[in-house]
Symmetry: C2
Subunit: 365 residues, 2 copies
Amino acid sequence: MEAGDIRVRRGDLTAFCRSVFENRGMSPEEAEVTAEVLVSADAFGIPSHGVGRLRRYVSGLDTGLMLPRESGETVLESESSLVVDAKGAMGPPVSVRVMGTVIEKAEQTGAAFGAVRNSNHFGIAGYYARMALSRDMLGIAMTNTAALGVPTFGREAFFGTNPIAFAAPAGTEEPFVLDMSTTVVTRGKVEVYERRGDVLPEGWAVDRTGKSARDPGSLLSGMQERRGGGILPLGGLDTLLGGHKGYGLAVMVDILCALLSGGPFGRGVYDTPESSARVSHFFGAVRIDRFRDPVEFRADMDRMLRELRACPPAEGRDRVWYAGLPEAEHARETERRGVPLSRKTWEMLRELGAETGARLPSEMP
Amino acid sequence: MEAGDIRVRRGDLTAFCRSVFENRGMSPEEAEVTAEVLVSADAFGIPSHGVGRLRRYVSGLDTGLMLPRESGETVLESESSLVVDAKGAMGPPVSVRVMGTVIEKAEQTGAAFGAVRNSNHFGIAGYYARMALSRDMLGIAMTNTAALGVPTFGREAFFGTNPIAFAAPAGTEEPFVLDMSTTVVTRGKVEVYERRGDVLPEGWAVDRTGKSARDPGSLLSGMQERRGGGILPLGGLDTLLGGHKGYGLAVMVDILCALLSGGPFGRGVYDTPESSARVSHFFGAVRIDRFRDPVEFRADMDRMLRELRACPPAEGRDRVWYAGLPEAEHARETERRGVPLSRKTWEMLRELGAETGARLPSEMP
């Protein structure tokens, strides 16, 4: 939490977003789900995917890039699979529905997967992977995104930040929930460096010649105008630190999301000024009891996660954590103290409240 | 290929390895499969996992860490899943058998997975993922390995190199086959730097205080004696370049391999002087036609892979490639010119030939 942040109750914030979405023509159910997905990102401490995006969602609804009351079309279905053409629907409602169906199918067959094409921004991938946890399943969620990542040895953007989320339940420990972009960083982090006037760390991005890019401003404008340059895959420049591995993971995500669903892939996925569009998603669920007694599995998860937490930290570090733990701790603090919002986000919410008549949450003391 | 390498015919090399394995008590079928998996690594240009390991496999058989004619026990099975206790069997035969069963199950249900515990080194993960390609399926293979990777913000090894392999078929293009460790590098690369007397690149490893390690000798001895320090996860030191993501992927692999199968995990997996042992694997296969006409899928794969190959290279680079392409090109060259072997490996093969009576391949001109 930065100085100047304010805090609001989670339920109030969700209700506010729901009202805004309903004002823009979404059904109560869609509005509820979309509000819940956005607010969960803020609760988990991932504000880049939270209500700070509300204006972009509203713009998407206003311009018709994101369609309310559009539930898409199932184009192929089997006992263990599902392909949906979202037809420009809002990302969160179609994603929650498909992941729900995938879980029901996995209940029957042990493992099931769903691929969605022609969708929109779906928020945090981890939200959908987490849906499997209470069912004693492993959860998987991925999405492709607008192209901004440069292949190893290349100099033009080809793939998106293409996040991978994977969730596994534990017993008394917080669940393991990995939710990671397969690029070194996302565009948002580059924007932060630009606002601060800082040079980019070595290993984040390349310019249009394919050499290390240090100026965030020219990187962002070059990517925006598709003049070359872009963000590096996880592992960074060339192969010395494994950049080819992040590149491979990004392509894998595109295959699972877009090539399985028949959606646009690679640089065929691009942002308009209003919003990202035509993205594809991939969801999966696997029953743990098809491998092992879930009680034993959860006990071993607890053992592993406790061992990780107990790892001696490097000099100058407080502790070792694992994926999902900081998010869970942030969410608990949020329950007590409210969801933190930056001043900038708060101002945007005030404006949207004035435009839509939605009731602004009250600031917590 | 380095100066001093020699080349032998692939078939001759496979026959040699088969004879050595049979001499050590393996059945003809096991010996054939294991030889084929090892030689395929050399053919693909991955000598770290090729016949250079033959002495270690023979030692494993001699000391009883790797058991010949042991087919393990199926401990749980459903229409879409399989758990096998390998009981110390050789890695490749049990892995080929389980991946084969997973593919047959996926043929019925659309998607299936298998987990194996108490196994041994299984060679290249990509070998098993590739088995799905000719069946119009996506293939997945992973394994945990002896602990040498340090969690983000930690200073002691907890997880292995934990590779992920993912294979997707194409039409006329070479298939996409990702096969990557989730650490920045493997132990073998650190050993190369030690032999050369070079300092390690920044971002590969930490010492026992958790600071960047540059001396390969003290890193290797520290890891060997479990005194602290180790190799960093993909993404490197701390979180600036995404080290927490590689850390998360490594834990995900351990969950899928060891926690699903009930095998040892984390630092419970360790090398003896003779060989790595008690590792766990994970295999998966997904039918493409449960999502989309495989002909269309392959056509889109071709389109994407051609677009990747046609990406303009960075200044000073020849070309952009994709995962699986260099391996396929290396294998083609191998068909023409023979499998390259280092002088060191060749000497080891000569010794093993003398010990076992196996007929050494003749050198190609």
